[in-house]
């Protein structure tokens, strides 16, 4: 049965929802996976935490396909190069350097801006593809999972995240599991999503990290709501903050040792702890209500 989430396929290309948090360990991945599992309709899940993608660990999915992701890096033609050094002086990232002779290229430092190739007075630099990671597609029940995994030794996550987001279909429901924090990989994940869910805990650390995340989504101008995880472990300061700031609290998940233990074993919560399927399924209604209510 299709749940009435207010979403009609093809109607308004709805909807891309990112699950994010100011710091790690608040339950982002658990929520992404369990919300997806609690729905009965098809959903696309994007694991954008490309340094530590572990949505897969909780789904036991079937591998459908893999695709290598490349960026462009410079290649120097030694016959054309006269060792002028203009490329090395231009590069902000020490990815191409000269020692009075031919330049050396350090692919892992390269951001792929293409400046050196454009600039070279001898036309000695062309751009070639260089592997940075892998996108894998999996299937598990109603979920199509796309996972980005950055190669060991590569420090540039945003290009891989941008490639992963190319997998977003024209319509349908998409959940993006964002990397932790408020730095550039998170900003790359949140670009052009419709709604952001911020996950936090009712503790002083949770509140502090939430305020940083709220600053970020406000800076990006995105509508958002909050899920408070492990309610009962701390106090009500997060809820009071949300009320003061006019932020919707979409869901409060009780602190439950049964959940912590299921998570510890790598099990799905909606499948192994009674009552949670209904709790997680209701989140879509809350998001829709907040979104349609013209959240500012």
């Amino acid at each position: 049965m299709l749940r009435d989430t207010g979403y009609k396929p093809g109607e308004d290309r709805f909807m891309k929802i990112a699950i994010a948090s100011g710091k790690g360990g608040t339950g982002k991945t658990t929520l992404s996976v369990n919300i997806a599992q609690a729905l009965d309709s098809p959903v696309v899940l994007l694991d954008c935490d490309v340094e530590e993608p572990n949505s897969r660990l909780f789904l036991d999915p079937k591998l459908i396909g893999e695709e290598v992701v490349n960026t462009l890096i410079p290649k120097v033609d030694p016959d054309k190069c006269n060792g002028c050094g203009a490329c090395g002086r231009f590069c902000q990232f020490n990815a191409i350097v000269t020692f009075g002779t031919k330049p050396l290229v350090f692919s892992e430092m390269c951001h792929g801006c293409g400046g050196c190739a454009r600039l070279c007075p001898q036309g000695a630099i062309t751009e070639v593809e260089n592997r940075i990671g892998l996108i894998s597609e999996f299937s598990s029940g109603n979920i199509r999972l796309f996972q980005g995994c950055i190669d060991v030794g590569v420090a540039m996550a945003p290009p891989l995240i941008r490639a992963l987001k190319q997998k977003i279909p024209e319509d349908g429901l998409v959940i993006l599991d964002a990397p932790p924090g408020t730095t550039c990989p998170v900003v790359a994940t949140l670009g052009e999503v419709d709604y952001v869910v911020l996950v936090t805990e009712p503790t002083p650390f949770g509140l502090n990290d939430l305020t940083l995340a709220v600053d970020m989504v406000r800076e990006l101008g995105l509508p958002f709501g909050v899920i408070v995880n492990r309610v009962g472990v701390g106090d009500d300061r997060v809820q009071r903050y949300c009320e003061r700031e006019n932020i919707s609290v979409l869901l409060e998940i009780p602190n439950d040792r049964a959940v912590a233990e299921a998570y510890s074993r790598g099990e799905s919560i909606v499948e192994s702890v009674p009552g949670y399927k209904e709790l997680f399924a209701g989140i879509m209604d809350s998001i829709m209500a907040d979104y349609k209510g013209g959240h500012k």
Binding site: F93, N94, A95, V97, F99, G100, T101, K102, L104, F106, E108, M109, V152, G153, V154, A155
Partner: protein, 120 residues
């Protein structure tokens, strides 16, 4: 000939800094005159990325022909080799003691990086 030793301090009695790219100081030693000069590696300590590569460039700019240090990563090693600079890794103890070993020909030229890159 001029050589560079990575150092934790400003004198020949200082300990060798085991890091190349993020070494505190470079001691630029002239093997003919016995004079030396201290070069602050501050810019590289602050570098967001590519400290080893920048350090190699700094070494090249001093005209040094050899580097004596503790550990050298692959990018720095590639850069130093491209510049024709000989690398001696595994240095420990004081700058003075390594200089003596160098003069006596006791040091063995490194053939490659001795540590992995810093993006494990």
């Amino acid at each position: 000939m001029k050589i560079i030793l990575t150092s934790t301090g400003r004198t020949l009695e200082s300990e060798i800094d085991s890091r190349f790219g993020r070494a505190a100081m470079f001691i630029l030693f002239d093997t003919e005159s016995g004079d030396f000069e201290v070069i602050d590696n501050k810019q590289n300590l602050d570098a967001a990325q590519g400290a080893g590569i920048q350090a190699a460039q700094n070494v090249f700019n001093t005209g040094a022909k050899a580097v004596i240090t503790g550990h050298c990563g692959p990018k720095a090693f590639a850069a130093l080799s491209a510049a024709g600079i000989i690398v001696y890794c595994n240095a420990t103890g004081t700058v003075q003691s390594m200089l003596e070993q160098y003069k006596n020909g006791d040091l063995k030229e490194s053939q490659g990086a001795d540590v992995e890159g810093h993006w494990v």
